[in-house]
C-alpha cells in the first residue's frame, strides 16, 4: 500500500523527467502533428439504466491540454462518464459541449478510445491499423509503420493480432486509436490487466501524445499511474463529481471523505457506519 508521500515524490520526479515540449523528432512522428485543441464541457449530465441512476447532475469543465485522470471506487460511474464524453452512450439529460459546440459526429471522428479489454479485428496486426486508416481515407503504409514502430510492434506486423500477448494487444489498440489522429484520447482502465513492462510503454506513448497536444482523459484505479501521468484529477463517487483538482493538491490534501478513504486504501460507502469509514 503506497503512502501519500511516496506517490507525491514519484509525481515530482516524473514531471521533472519529461521536458516541457519534448525532445521528440516531429519530422518522423507525423501522427503527432497538427492536433487541434479541444475544450470539453459537461452540463447537468444524468444517466439512468432502468431504476438505477449511474450519473447524477454532472457538471464539468476540462482544460484543453494535458491529462485528466478520472478516479473513484468501482461502480462510481467512471466508464459511463467516459463513454458519454466520447458519445457512445447518450445521457438521459444534459449536454456535452466541445469548444462550446454540442457534441456531434465530426467531434467524435476526432476522438478515440482504448478499452480495458482490447477489441482487435481477426486479422493481422498491420491490418488492424490499416482498417482504421482506410475508413478515414488516410491509408498510408508509411504512417501505419510509424505507428507500429512507436508502440514497438513493427516486428509483428504480419502476425494475427489475436495471437499477440495481452500487453502487445493493448499496445496495438493504442496504436489503432492514434491512427485516428485524435484530438481527444480516452483510456478506460487501459493498463489494468497489463504487466509493468507493457504498462510502462503505454504510459510513455500516452505522455508523448499528451505533450504533442492530444487531450487525454483516462480512467484508472492506479493512483501511482495517475500521479505519474495526470495534471488533473476528477474524483467520482456514486455518480457525482465530488472532487476536481490538480494532481498535487488531490494527493496531498483530498477534501472529501470518499477521496480520503480511497487514497487510504479503505472501502467507502455512505451508508456504512462512521467506524467502518475510518
Amino acid at each position: 500500500m503506497l503512502s501519500k508521500n511516496t506517490i507525491l515524490s514519484e509525481a515530482t520526479v516524473r514531471e521533472q523527467a519529461i521536458p516541457a515540449n519534448g525532445s521528440l523528432n516531429e519530422e518522423r512522428r507525423s501522427t503527432l502533428d497538427n492536433i487541434p485543441r479541444t475544450q470539453l464541457e459537461l452540463r447537468t449530465i444524468s444517466y439512468r439504466v432502468g431504476e438505477l441512476t449511474l450519473l447524477h447532475n454532472v457538471n464539468l469543465s476540462l482544460p484543453e491540454a494535458g491529462v485528466t485522470a478520472v478516479m473513484g471506487f468501482n461502480g462510481a460511474g467512471k466508464s459511463v462518464l467516459l463513454k458519454i464524453m466520447h458519445g457512445i452512450l447518450t445521457p438521459n439529460s444534459g449536454s456535452v459541449l466541445w469548444n462550446q459546440q454540442p457534441s456531434d459526429a465530426i467531434h467524435r471522428q476526432a476522438q478515440a478510445m482504448v478499452f480495458q479489454k482490447p477489441v482487435l479485428l481477426k486479422r493481422s496486426t498491420k491490418a488492424n491499423i490499416d482498417f482504421v486508416l482506410k475508413q478515414r481515407r488516410a491509408h498510408n503504409p508509411t504512417l501505419r509503420n510509424e505507428l507500429l514502430t512507436r508502440v514497438g510492434l513493427i516486428d509483428k506486423a504480419q502476425q494475427p493480432a489475436r495471437l499477440l500477448s495481452g500487453g502487445e494487444q493493448q499496445r496495438l489498440a493504442l496504436a489503432r486509436a492514434l491512427a485516428c489522429n485524435p484530438a481527444v484520447l480516452f483510456l478506460d482502465e487501459a493498463t489494468a490487466s497489463l504487466d509493468p513492462a507493457s504498462t510502462a510503454i503505454i504510459e510513455r506513448i500516452v505522455s508523448e501524445q499528451s505533450q504533442a497536444g492530444t487531450k487525454v482523459i483516462m480512467v484508472t484505479h492506479d493512483s501511482a499511474q495517475a500521479a505519474r501521468l495526470a495534471q488533473q484529477i476528477i474524483f467520482l463517487d456514486s455518480g457525482t463529481v465530488v472532487e476536481q483538482s490538480d494532481t498535487t493538491t488531490f494527493f496531498s490534501a483530498p477534501k472529501t471523505t470518499a477521496a480520503k478513504a480511497y487514497l487510504d486504501g479503505r472501502l467507502y460507502h455512505p451508508e456504512l457506519t462512521l467506524e467502518d469509514n475510518r
Binding site: 463513454k83 457512445i88 478515440a112 479485428l121 489475436r162 495471437l163
Partner: protein, 233 residues
C-alpha cells in the same frame, strides 16, 4: 452379374459417359449459382438483422429461422405456380429451365444462410459494438468488417447451403421437369433410376454425388488450412 454400387460408380466415371458428365455439370451449375445468390441475399439479410435494432426484429429472426424448415417440395410447388404459363410470372418463360431450378433452390437456401449467419455475426457484433461506435463506422462499414472477420464460420455456412443444394430433389423435379439433356441433375436422375427399378445405378449415382461433395469440401478445406495454421482465435 450384379455390380456393386461402388464399382459401378467407378466404371461410369471411367467410361466418361457424356450423359453422366452433362448431368454432373448441370448439378454443379445449378447448385453453385444458387448458393452464390443465397449468400448474397442471405448474408445481407443476416448481417442487417444482426446489427440493427428495429421493431419486430425478434419476430423477423423467428421467421427466418422457421423458413429453414421450408419443405423443398412446397417451394417447388409455389415456384411452379408462379412460373407456370397460367401463373403471374408465366410470361418470363422460365418453367422447365435451369433458371427455374436456381430460383427454387435460392429460395430454399437463403433462409439457411440468413439464419446461421445472423447468429454468427450477432455473436461477434456484441464484442465489437462499442469499438465500432468509437470509430464512428457506418452500418455498411460495420457489416463489411464483421463479414470478413466471420469468414471461417461463414464458409461453413456456405458449405451447409451447398450441401442442401446438391442434395435437393423435391423442388427441382417440379420446376425443372427432369427433362433429358435440359433439366436433369444428379438427384433427379437418381429419382428416375429408382422409379425404373434400377437400384444399383441409382446408388452408383448417389456415390458419385457424394464424391462430388467430398471433393468440393476437400478443396475448400485445403484453402482454409493455411489460415488454421495461424491459429485463428
Amino acid at each position: 452379374m450384379q455390380e456393386s454400387a461402388l464399382s459401378l460408380a467407378f466404371n461410369l466415371i471411367r467410361s466418361a459417359d457424356p450423359d453422366l458428365y452433362e448431368i454432373i455439370g448441370l448439378s454443379l451449375r445449378v447448385s453453385l449459382v444458387s448458393v452464390l445468390l443465397s449468400l448474397i441475399f442471405g448474408l445481407a439479410l443476416g448481417a442487417t438483422v444482426a446489427t440493427t435494432s428495429f421493431r419486430g426484429r425478434q419476430v423477423l429472426s423467428i421467421l427466418i429461422n422457421s423458413l429453414m424448415s421450408l419443405p423443398p417440395v412446397v417451394v417447388g410447388l409455389l415456384v411452379y405456380l408462379a412460373l407456370s404459363r397460367s401463373g403471374p410470372m408465366g410470361w418470363l418463360g422460365l418453367l422447365y429451365t435451369p433458371t427455374a431450378m436456381i430460383i427454387a433452390q435460392t429460395i430454399l437456401i437463403t433462409p439457411l444462410v440468413a439464419a446461421l449467419s445472423r447468429q454468427v455475426i450477432e455473436d461477434l457484433y456484441l464484442e465489437y459494438k462499442e469499438q465500432f461506435q468509437s470509430f464512428q463506422l457506418t452500418k455498411f462499414q460495420q457489416i463489411n468488417a464483421l463479414l470478413w472477420d466471420c469468414r471461417y464460420s461463414l464458409l461453413t455456412v456456405a458449405l451447409a447451403g451447398l450441401g442442401r443444394s446438391l442434395s435437393e430433389v423435391g423442388a427441382v423435379i417440379i420446376v425443372g421437369g427432369n427433362i433429358d439433356h435440359l433439366t436433369r441433375v444428379m438427384t433427379t436422375a437418381i429419382a428416375l433410376e429408382t422409379s425404373k427399378g434400377d437400384l444399383p445405378l441409382a446408388l452408383a449415382l448417389g456415390v458419385i454425388l457424394l464424391t462430388m461433395a467430398l471433393l468440393i469440401n476437400a478443396l475448400l478445406a485445403s484453402l482454409n488450412f493455411s489460415a488454421k495454421r495461424q491459429a485463428y482465435a
